[in-house]
Amino acid sequence: MNIAVCIKRVPDTGTRIRIAETGDGVETDGVKYVMGPYDEFAVEAALQLAEAAEGGEVALLAYGPPATQEALRSGLAMGAHRAVLLAGEPTMDGWATARTLAAELSGWEADLVLFGVKAVDSDQQQVGPMVAELLGRPCATAVSSMDVSEGVATCRRVVEGGREVVEMTLPAAATITKGQYEPRYASLRGIMAAKRKPLEQKAAKEAAVELVVEALEYPPPRPPGRILGEGPAAAAELVRLLREEDKAI
């Protein structure tokens, strides 16, 4: 079974985001980049599926600046077999990104194309389903676990108040969320092996951008805390506020 996993290079989740002076992007100086955390779940899912199938190839695909190689190498160190980097400058236009990726993937023979459920920088959750549409494949989203048997992928999704099981005939696509997947550590032997695995870089055939970000703003400052009183006398009011204002309980 051949599995393609699309990954994105994103700022480390611990990064303190600063808006750039231009006002329509973020400051990139001094930002540490990593593979998207949800993409790591997708890589883990792909590796587990390939292991269960006792064969097949896990290939990584990314669209981004040349430095995205580092994120691809970490996926190779986890155990993926090869990687392709479409060098370019992705924007916030998920539709353009999806068309760029689909143009490449249409030449691949992948039984499954997996994505993280979302990229933690843009948080749009668009690219996976859009690529599936462009490739004419069924797509299950926010999959928490899946397996494949006799050409059918069985995907489990956590939905409000329960669990949903969906089946898709291969070739198919899916976006993966945390669920049962705990990304493996890249072993040190894996890191050494990753150096020898193929990582192809080519210029992306970038699709035209039709969506642009106009402005970014910081969230409003948090309102100061309130002291309701002291001791048991304050408890009733605290419960009322938690229930009626914050709807926390």
Binding site: R73, A77, Y185, I191, M192, A194
Partner: protein
């Protein structure tokens, strides 16, 4: 309790590392964050080495990581190896000691001095963490002067018989195999010292846990007793030749210690800087008080110096240009630095600093052992004194 650790890197030392070295460092850093930090405080108080971590340490390839891949090792460069030690000791000196001993004092000599049979038998299992090793050189009465050791190896029926005792042996009680150094010639003859690969289930071999420690509590420290331990001729490491051989092992281990000390210091600095920002006294965080800022500046400066020292030493080692005296300088300087950082961090933390909930006092107590083991601070001073003056003072 703590935020995800991003390292201390005031001088952008990261830019001097290769992508692979950073990946190795980040993998071990995440592993320590996820697996060691949540359990180490309690293990320390319970005086227990967290053995349950060994399979993962092996699986990830942290044992003998700079030895070749053909024996199941990771085949990393020496800077990557050093970064592993740094990150492990950010967890605890006991965890780093475990890996140092297994890699530099057991796997290294078997690789460097052992027969092909000894390598093939032990290295893959030691790399995987399936077998544990210890190193017996120091004796109750011979620490800084190992040439005088009283443990003997005598010929009998084509094999060897070992008698003696070894002290302060990390991993001693849990080891499956011991690399034991013994005198095959006249007492005091440095050339007569040879190394043996001794299975710990050999009749006459026993290990006793060292009681009463106030440092390295999350580490197995033991005493070994060898009483008429009969070994076949094949137990001798054929390449071992005199005291020089165990000293070569110690150079490897000390190299890792120089890096490890930086990790312990980073842990203390990170904790102290964070605490200073949160702890309010006299209507403001203590981070805004001049006395704490001096502490923080001193810690930052010495950690940065230690980092650069290690990195240069590692590059020299990769070029096979590193000298034992350079290792002495780095071990001496960095462990002393880490002792000071840990103590100042503990003081900055005030009364909270004595609790196991924080790491500073644990590191501070550990580092007192690190200061003394693998060549005491004082002996390394004399090594450097000799290197400069040409006069031996020991």
């Amino acid at each position: 309790m703590t935020a995800r650790f991003e390292g201390i890197d005031f001088y952008d030392v990261d830019a001097l590392l290769s992508e692979e070295e950073r990946m190795v460092r980040d993998t071990v850093r995440s592993w320590v964050e996820d697996r060691v930090l949540p359990v180490i405080g309690k293990a320390y108080v319970d005086r227990r080495f967290p053995k349950e971590l060994i399979p993962e340490i092996g699986e990830l390839g942290m044992l003998g990581a700079n030895l070749p891949e053909e024996y199941g090792c990771a085949g990393l460069g020496n800077v990557a190896y050093g970064l592993i030690m740094q990150e492990l000791e950010r967890g605890d000196s006991g965890i780093r000691s475990f890996a140092s001993v297994q890699g530099a004092l057991v796997m290294y000599p078997i690789h460097a001095f052992g027969s092909e049979e000894q390598r093939a038998e032990w290295l893959p299992k030691l790399a995987a963490g399936e077998k544990i090793g210890c190193f017996g050189l120091t004796e109750p009465d011979y620490g800084s002067n190992p040439a005088g050791m009283i443990t003997t190896a005598r010929r009998r029926d084509g094999g060897w018989v070992l008698n003696g005792a070894k002290m302060w042996i990390t991993n001693g009680s849990m080891a499956d195999v011991a690399v034991v150094w013994a005198q095959t010639g006249q007492a005091g003859d440095a050339r007569g010292i040879r190394g043996f690969v001794v299975p710990t289930n050999a009749p006459g071999f026993s290990a006793r846990d060292q009681k009463g420690k106030l440092s390295l509590l999350a580490s197995d420290t033991s005493e070994l007793v060898l009483e008429d331990v009969e070994l076949p001729d094949s137990a001798l490491m054929p390449g071992s030749s005199g005291l020089r051989s165990p000293l070569m092992c110690l150079t490897q281990a000390r190299y890792g210690i120089a890096w490890g000390a930086v990790g312990a210091a980073m842990a203390c600095f990170h904790e102290a800087a964070r605490y200073a920002g949160e702890r309010v006294m006299f209507d403001g965080p203590i981070a805004g008080k001049q006395i704490q800022q001096v502490r923080i500046a001193d810690m930052l400066t010495s950690i940065t110096q230690g980092q650069l020292l290690c990195l240069r030493l590692g590059r020299l080692k990769d070029e096979s240009k590193m000298t034992p005296q350079q290792v002495s300088l780095a071990k001496r300087a960095n462990v002393d630095m880490a002792c000071n950082v840990a103590r100042e961090a503990r003081r900055l933390l005030g009364a909270n600093g004595i609790l196991a909930e924080y790491s500073a006092m644990r590191h501070m107590a550990n580092l007192e052992s690190v200061y003394t083991y693998e060549g005491t601070h004082d002996i390394h001073s004399l090594v450097l004194g000799q290197a400069v003056t040409g006069l031996a003072a020991f």
